[in-house]
Subunit: 234 residues, 2 copies
Amino acid sequence: MSEFTPTPRSRVRHLPRRARYDKATIYAILDAGLVAHVGFVDDSGGPVVIPVLYARRGDELIVHGARGGRLQQHLAAGHEVSVSVALVDGLVLAKSAFNQSVNYRSVVLFGRGRALTSPEEKLDALRVLTEHILPGQWAYVRPPTPKELNATGVVAITILEAAAKMRQGPPGDAEQDQDLPLWAGVLPTALAFGAPQPAAHARGPLPPHVQAFLARQPRLAAPRPHASDEEAAP
Amino acid sequence: MSEFTPTPRSRVRHLPRRARYDKATIYAILDAGLVAHVGFVDDSGGPVVIPVLYARRGDELIVHGARGGRLQQHLAAGHEVSVSVALVDGLVLAKSAFNQSVNYRSVVLFGRGRALTSPEEKLDALRVLTEHILPGQWAYVRPPTPKELNATGVVAITILEAAAKMRQGPPGDAEQDQDLPLWAGVLPTALAFGAPQPAAHARGPLPPHVQAFLARQPRLAAPRPHASDEEAAP
């Protein structure tokens, strides 16, 4: 199956032209994200949303946390969850208030958790999670001890339904606003990386896998000493 | 009231030293964010989480969308929602897999929506929302027509309970890992802005309020023409 079949809960109703249901699109967004917001219904019947680190493995999301934590327990019990991931790609400045927008890529999915219990399963899932955040880091660091592994709850959320929604491109001003004497356009954004900050107990240089990772990421410009001068510039 | 009183649903149980319940901290995080993930319980009793743009106004969050949209209807009906906002400040690279982490600032809150119905209420809320995203933009652009205002659903979510959770600083390696011959530290991250991309129908230069806004934001470094050379550098 390369496409999710939308149901009433996962079908995008508002601006359906921005919706996608194919796995290639949905999984590319999930693979580009770092934080997911997991929503569940608590014992009292109310909604709870919690931000977590995650990684995708096939048709599952891997989520870890303290064993016995509320979200871990809920997921381990196999209850349903909804998960939202959103990446902001730019502010879209139109000539009318109505057409202000944001460029983004987002996924809303529905799934069901299961606890990973054997040390082998947990190790593999933690490897996927660590490698998603920084490729090469799992092999570089000291692996978990049995005690650490035991303290860590790891769940896999099977993705049952999912929809992506996205917007890209310039502002969509109405015909009658096109010639207003105003600037319009996009302020592109990205999660960018600054200069690495070694810890006091760091030994040796920045390892090659971290250098290679940073070379692939958007980077932060060095802070400008006289930002106020630049602000006044034309 | 300058502090929220945690209840069982809003009290941070895991790593409680990272939790804050004071409004100053919680509201500063909400004011720094752009996208909130709103969770609710749908008619079938299942969880749904949807990403939205938002702004804080006093003890409320303002959220807009197509009138008649699912989230707008749910919020307008006064049902309870949970809202999650998370800002990633850096990857925390420890010497053990167990201590890998992320620096972040997050808020999980619980609230109840109400529809804003009069044109005056809606206009004021949309002004707050637009100004949160880009200060100065509301006065710069063409205001909404009565027809546009009528098509826009605007709700205010009263914040009833909230908790912030955050992590800052270097990796927390255990005593016995301190001297492992490995690099450890933080890769700082921020949502950064690239060079403005004028639309084909832009008229005139980048206006002063956009220049001033960009001068206050983290900026993207210019893309490097030979990233692969740099990757190979020491």
